[in-house]
């Protein structure tokens, strides 16, 4: 029997989606976008049909002014999730307590649906590369990261999501595949997984592994969110640039991910060459249609 469920529509300004499926995952937020400065005013003025927004945590670790004003105004209209880039969970530097404190303050302000960051390191010896540098996938790194995620989760009082990064190098120190490592991190730390479909595609091309093997190797119960993004294809290698539309092979992989993991909160992450909001919404509608067609998930 089909049951009509409203997807938390009481919390969602501008939301028009209603799911026709009696098996919606409890954690399903719908289809979201990364909140970008270029679109702040338009989001407030037009309340576009986006189910939720993801915000980059560090962009709002400021004391006040316009960024915070827009953030709180939009938070009143939409559910949000927080996505960080500076936790540096894999670094051998001590966890940055000042950063964690800022993160917790922002969590308390925004009350996001969840908090995520990346399975990577961003710096060492108190120097930040501001890049998502890959880990060696071995037991030393595994023990290190699991311990640190546990500390972060205890501090924040909630499980976090860890995202797979795109990478261009493989260390000789690696002893297992990235997906085995990611799975083990989630299993041992209790964190969940933010699966970036574009990053899987980029890394699969750069390291010549099967993206489907990656999907098949990830524990179904641990994934809570998908990212979609664009990349730049240089032929012999691919760079994760977030400045293009989502590429066709990534849409294909997204379909495969839906088939394996079921309906999943999905967002498009655009960080450069930002198009008009309506263009991103049109791209998000492609993701919705793929989900509808793949899972018989309905949007009225």
């Amino acid at each position: 029997m089909w049951v009509v469920l409203l997807v938390r529509s009481d919390q969602r300004g501008g939301n028009t989606s209603s799911a026709v499926n009696n098996a919606l995952p409890e954690h399903f937020l719908g289809f979201g976008l990364g909140l970008r400065t270029d679109h702040f005013q338009e989001v407030i003025d037009t309340k576009p049909p986006v189910d939720w927004f993801e915000v980059v945590s560090e962009n709002f670790m400021v004391n006040g002014g316009k960024p915070k004003h827009y953030l709180h105004s939009i938070r009143e209209l939409y559910p949000m999730v927080m996505h960080g880039v500076s936790l540096s969970i894999g670094s051998t530097d001590p966890l940055n307590k000042a950063y964690l404190n800022q993160l917790k303050v922002l969590v308390n302000e925004l009350q996001p649906e969840w908090v995520s960051d990346h399975l990577c390191w961003t710096g060492a010896h108190q120097v930040n590369s501001h890049d998502l540098l890959p880990m060696p996938y071995n037991n030393e790194a595994l023990d290190h990261i699991v311990d640190r995620i546990s500390h972060v989760q205890d501090y924040l009082g909630q499980p976090i999501l860890m995202e797979n990064v795109s990478s261009y190098i493989t260390y000789v120190e690696s002893e297992m595949t990235e997906w085995e490592f990611l799975n083990e991190v989630a299993k041992r730390s209790g964190c969940y997984i933010l699966l970036d479909i574009n990053n899987i595609y980029v890394s699969a091309r750069n390291h010549n592994f099967s993206a489907q093997d990656y999907l098949n190797g990830i524990d179904k119960d641990k994934v809570r969110q998908f990212h979609l993004a664009g990349h730049t294809d240089y032929g012999d290698y691919v760079i994760d640039t977030h400045d293009h539309d989502v590429a066709d092979p990534v849409w294909t992989l997204y379909k495969a991910a839906l088939e394996r993991f079921g309906l999943m909160s999905t967002m498009i992450e655009r960080d450069d060459n930002i198009p008009p909001l309506q263009d991103l919404i049109a791209e998000l509608n492609i993701a919705k249609r793929i989900a509808q067609n793949t899972l018989n998930y309905g949007v009225r």
């Binding site: 006040g64 002014g65 930040n128 590369s129 501001h130 540098l133 260390y171 000789v172």
Partner: protein, 264 residues
């Protein structure tokens, strides 16, 4: 993927050699990278190095658009590469990465030979500070009118957290304004000048020049001195005006600017 015959680094050692590559171009890290396909390890590693430098350049570019116009592309690129070497980032947010740029420009030739360059950088950093400073309720004329006469003499003011008081030795702000209007700036001229920057109630960043008298009054307020002290200072400078009216004129202009912080 597992190469048992190769020496393996600890996580700490691996991270140290990777950072040495990114910051100094040291290539020891190449020994820790597996050879894969047609793409050389050098190409793979350079993706990270190029991204590191491009990201930091983009930050400086975004934070200092007028400085970039003042310098022109070649000098701007020289400044950026010099600053990246001089000041590796130790902040979690890129918002703070270029905080030391004005200081760098006072030390590094050829920029240090033209002090106005550092001052333009400093002015742009103060604009950023005003832009995202803490929010606070502003003092209003209504609040002021509710004061009883006995409250006035010991009245102290506080400024909105976005308020920045600064002085420059060169015509940096006038040059900044000219470039903002896409006109050629005047040659650098040495002239001591004082400026006030703040974020107004509409959340727009504003600035204006200050005369010496207003600078002293603002400094007195920052030092916690009360209304009677302000009046006493004005009394000692003025002969032909009622100092309380003069003081009220200043307070009214500060209220209009929205730079005073509410007590409530």
């Amino acid at each position: 993927m597992v190469l048992d015959n190769m020496e393996k680094n600890s996580l700490a050692s691996l991270q140290k050699t990777m950072m040495a590559f990114l910051l100094k171009g040291e290539t020891i890290i190449e020994k820790s990278i597996v050879k894969q396909g047609n793409v050389s390890n050098k190409t793979r590693l350079n993706i990270y190095k190029n991204a590191y430098q491009a990201r930091l350049k983009e930050v400086i570019d975004n934070d200092h658009p007028i400085l970039g116009m003042y310098l022109g592309d070649d000098l701007f690129d020289e400044m950026v590469s010099g600053y990246i070497d001089y000041s590796p980032s130790n902040c979690t947010s890129l918002r703070d990465y270029a905080n030391q740029l004005p200081l760098f420009l006072t030390k590094q030739k050829p920029f240090s030979l033209h002090p106005i360059i550092s001052e333009i950088a400093q002015f742009e950093r103060l604009l950023l500070d005003a832009f995202d400073a803490e929010d606070a309720k502003r003092y209003t004329k209504d609040e002021l009118q509710k004061l009883s006469p006995s409250d006035w003499l010991a009245l102290t003011f506080r400024f909105h957290p976005s308020v920045q008081l600064t002085s420059f030795e060169w015509n940096c702000v006038e040059s900044w304004q000219a470039l903002k209007k896409e006109t050629a700036p005047d040659p650098a001229i040495k002239q001591t000048n004082n400026w006030l920057l703040w974020r107004n109630p509409e959340r727009l960043t504003q600035f204006r020049s200050l005369n010496e008298e207003e600078v002293v009054l603002i400094r007195m307020i920052l030092n916690g001195e009360d209304f009677s002290a302000l009046c006493e200072y004005l009394y000692n400078r003025t002969t032909d005006q009622d100092v309380s009216i003069l003081a009220l004129n200043y307070i009214n202009s500060w209220l209009d600017d929205g730079i005073l912080r509410s007590f409530s």
